[in-house]
Amino acid sequence: MFSYVVRRILVSILTLLIASFLMYMLTALSADPLEELRTSSAPNKDELIARRIELLQLDVAPPLRWLMWVGGVASCLAPFAFECTLGNSIEGFEVALLLPPAMASTIRLVTAASILAIILGVVVGMVTALRQNSAFDIGTTFVSFFLYSLPSFLVAVLLKEFGAIGMNNFIQRGDPPQISLIWIIGLTVVSGLVWSLIVGGTPYRRLITFGVAGAATAAALVYMNLTNFFLEPSLGPVLLFLLIALTIVGVTALTAGLRNRRALIAAGIVGVIGYICYFTLQGLFDVSTIWTLLILGVVAIVVSVLVGFAVSYFGPDKGQVIRAAGITGFFVSFFVLIDRFMQAWPSYMANPRINGRPVATAQDATTGYSGDVWGTGIDQLMHFALPTISMLLVSFAFYTRFARAGLLEVFNQDYIRTARAKGLSEQTIVMRHAFRNMLIPLTTIIAADIGSLLGGALITERVFAIAGMGAMFNNGLRVLDLNPIMGYFLVIAILAIAFNFIADMLYAVLDPRVRVK
C-alpha cells in the first residue's frame, strides 16, 4: 500500500509536469505579449517594451522560462516557503497574490454545487431505482437527459431573468407580495402528483398521498401569504416544533426504522434539547460571530451523539441510535439557524444597498454592504444561490443516473437476496445493505465530476461576473497573459489529480475486494 501511494504521487507529479509543459509552451509560443506595445504610438514605446520584457522575462526562451516557473511553483508548494512566486501578470501583479482570493470564491461555488448535487442526485436516483419504470422514473430520466443537453450558459440567462429579476420584481412590487391563486393551485397539483408518483402503490393509496401532499403544499403557500413571508419570514415556535417533530420521525424511520424505540427516544431527546436551545440561545445569536456559530454547531453534534450514546448504553444497536441522534441534531440545529437567518431578513432588505431587491445577479458580495454574521450570511446566499443552481444541474442529472444504475445493480446481488430471504424490512435492506454498497463507486465519479465542475466554473463565473479563478483565466486568456493562465491551470490540475488520488485511495479502503498494488 505504501509503495503504491508513493508511486502514485510520483506519477502524479510527472503528469503534472508534462501537462504544465505542454500548456506553457502552447500558450507561450502562440502569444505575443509585446504585440500591443509594438503597435502603440506611445512616445516611450521602447522603454515600455523593455520594462515588459524584464517583467515577464521574455528574454528567456520559453522552455527555460517554464523551468523557472516550475522552480517558483516548487517553492510555493514546499512547506515553510517564504518566497513564493508564480510570475507576474502583464499589469505587473503577482499571480501568487491574485490566486488565493480567486480560489476561495471558486472553491466555495464548486463545493456548494457538488455537495448539493450529490445529496439531491443520490436521493432522487435512489427513489427512481426503487420505483423503477414508474411514471416518476421515466419523468426523471427524461429530465436528466434534458439537463445533460442544457449548456450552463442557457440556464444562467434564464435564472438571471426569472430567478433574479422576476423574483425581485415580485418582492418589490407586491405590497405585500402575495402568491397568486393560479400559482397556489398549480403548485398544489404538481406537488400532489409528484408525491403520489413517488409513493406509488394502489390507486387508493395514490389518491390519499395526492390529497395529503397537495393539502400540505397549499397550506404552506397560504401560510406564506398570510404571514407576509417574503418580507418578514419566520418559522416561529409552532412551525419549528412541527419541523422538529417531522425530522425526528423521518430521520429515525430512515436510519433505524420506527420500530427501534431507542433510536426514536434518542432522536426525540435531541429534538427537545434543540427546541429548548432555540428559546435560550436567541440572546447569544444576536452577538454571534461565524466562529461562535461553528463552535455551537460542533457542540450540538457532540451533544446529540452523546445523547445517542447514553440512550443506547445498555442496549444493542449503538451505531444506529447514535447515528439517528446525530443526524437529528444536525437538522434541528440547521432549522434553528434558518429561523435566525429569517429574523435578520427584514433588516437586510431595508439596507439601502439592497433596497428591497435581494436576489443578486452579479459579483460575490454586495459592494459596500456590511452587517453582522446573519446579514452577510444572507448576502452570500443571495449572491451564490443562482450560480450554484446553474452549476449543479448537470451534476445533479449525472448523479441521479449514476445512483439509479448503482442501486439497481446492487439490488441484483446475492447478499440483497439473502437479506430479503431472511425477512429483513425493506428499510433495512435499502438503507443498510444496498445504500452503502452503492456509494462505493460514487467516490470515483465524484472525482471526475469535480474536475468538470471546475471547468464549468469558467462559464458560470463569466455569466454572473464572479471574480473567481475562471474569471482570472478568462481575463488572462483575452490578452494572452501567460502567468495567470498557468496559475489557473496549476490549481485546476492539482485539484483534479488530488481528487482522483483520494478517490482511488477511498475506493481501496471502502471496498476490500479492490487490491492496490
Binding site: L26, Q132, P151
Partner: protein, 317 residues
C-alpha cells in the same frame, strides 16, 4: 467485412454474427424514442441544408446570414420575411441560426469522429500490448485528462481563433479522446484473453489483424455508444467556447455566440435567445437519446433485467 475475414471463421459463426447485427438493428429500430430522436437529429440538419444550402450550393432561403437588411418590424420582431426576427443591425436571424446549426453539426461530427478514432487506436494499442506501451499511453491520457476539455479548448480556440472553424474542430477533436481511450482499453484488456484471440494468434494472424479484425468488432458497441455521447458533449463544448468568445468567431455564426451577443436583450427581444437555445438543446437531446437507444440495443441485458425487477419489487415492498 471482407471475404477474407469470413474465411477465418466457420460458417456457423458467420451466420451468428450476422444475426447479432440484425438483432441490434431490430432492437434499435423498435425503440420509438431513439428512432424519433434520430429522425429529429437528421431532420434538423436536412432542414438547415434545404433552407440555407450547404457550402456553395444555395438553399431555398434567399437571405444571407451576414448581410444587414433593413428592419422590417419595430425592434426586429419576427415577421414573415424574417421568421426568427432580426438582430440589432438587421441580419436575418433565421439564416444565422441555420448557419449556426450547420457549424454546430460540423464541429460535432469532426470532434466525434476524430475523438473516436484517436481514442480507439490509443485504447486498442494500450489494451492489446499492455506493459510499457500501456503505461506510456495511459500516462499520456492522464496528462490530457488533467485539464478540463473546456480549458484546453479555450486556449486552443483563442489561439486558433483566426484559423477558422475547420482547424478549431480538429484541434478540439484531438483533446477529447481520453474517455473513449480508457473505455476501449478496458474492453481490450478483457477481450484479448478470450479463446478466439488465441486461436487467431495460433493461426498466424498479425497483431494488426487481431486488433482490427478480431477484437475491435467485438468492442464496437462500446465505441459507438461512447462516440454518440461524445458528439452530444461536443455540441455543448463548441457552443460554450463560442459563448466565452474563443470558439467560432464572427463573421462565421455559432449558436453559443448568438446567445452571448444577445443575452442582454432577453427581456425585450426574447426570440434572439429562444431560437438558438432551441437549436442547441434539441440536437444535443436527440443525440443523447440516440446514444441511449444504441446502448440498449447493444446491451439488452439491462432492459430485460429491469423488467424482471419491476415484477419483483411490488411484492417485496
Amino acid at each position: 467485412m471482407t471475404d477474407k475475414t469470413k474465411s477465418d471463421k466457420s460458417v456457423k459463426a458467420e451466420v451468428k454474427s450476422e444475426n447479432q447485427w440484425t438483432l441490434i438493428a431490430k432492437r434499435f429500430f423498435s425503440n420509438p424514442l431513439a428512432m424519433g430522436s434520430l429522425v429529429v437529429f437528421v431532420g434538423i440538419w436536412l432542414f438547415s441544408v434545404v433552407m440555407v444550402g450547404l457550402g456553395p450550393i444555395p438553399g431555398i432561403w434567399d437571405l444571407n446570414y451576414s448581410t444587414p437588411y433593413t428592419q422590417v418590424a419595430p425592434n426586429g420582431a419576427p415577421v414573415a420575411e424574417h421568421p426568427f426576427g432580426q438582430t440589432t443591425i438587421g441580419q436575418d436571424y433565421f439564416a444565422m441560426t441555420m448557419r449556426g446549426v450547420q457549424n454546430s453539426y460540423f464541429v460535432m461530427i469532426v470532434i466525434g469522429g476524430l475523438g473516436t478514432i484517436v481514442g480507439t487506436v490509443i485504447g486498442a494499442l494500450a489494451g492489446y500490448y499492455r506493459g510499457w506501451v500501456d503505461s506510456f499511453l495511459m500516462r499520456m491520457t492522464d496528462v490530457f485528462i488533467v485539464i478540463p476539455a473546456l480549458v484546453v479548448g479555450a486556449v486552443i480556440g483563442r489561439i486558433s481563433g483566426g484559423l477558422g472553424i475547420y482547424l478549431l474542430a480538429i484541434c478540439l477533436g484531438l483533446v477529447t479522446w481520453m474517455g473513449i481511450a480508457r473505455l476501449v482499453r478496458g474492453e481490450f484488456l478483457t477481450l484479448r484473453e478470450r479463446e478466439f484471440v488465441d486461436a487467431a494468434r495460433i493461426a498466424g494472424a498479425t497483431d494488426r489483424r487481431i486488433i482490427f479484425k478480431h477484437i475491435l468488432p467485438n468492442a464496437v458497441g462500446v465505441v459507438i455508444v461512447a462516440s454518440t455521447l461524445l458528439a452530444a458533449s461536443a455540441i455543448l463544448l463548441e457552443t460554450s467556447l463560442s459563448y466565452l468568445g474563443y470558439g467560432i468567431l464572427p463573421p462565421e455564426v455559432s449558436l453559443g455566440r448568438l446567445i452571448s451577443d444577445n443575452q442582454s436583450a432577453f427581456s425585450n427581444r426574447p426570440w434572439l435567445y429562444w431560437w438558438p437555445a432551441l437549436f442547441i438543446v434539441v440536437p444535443a437531446l436527440a443525440i443523447n437519446f440516440v446514444g441511449d437507444g444504441l446502448r440498449e440495443a447493444f446491451d439488452p441485458r439491462q432492459k430485460r433485467f429491469s423488467r424482471r425487477r419491476t415484477k419483483e419489487l411490488p411484492e417485496s415492498a
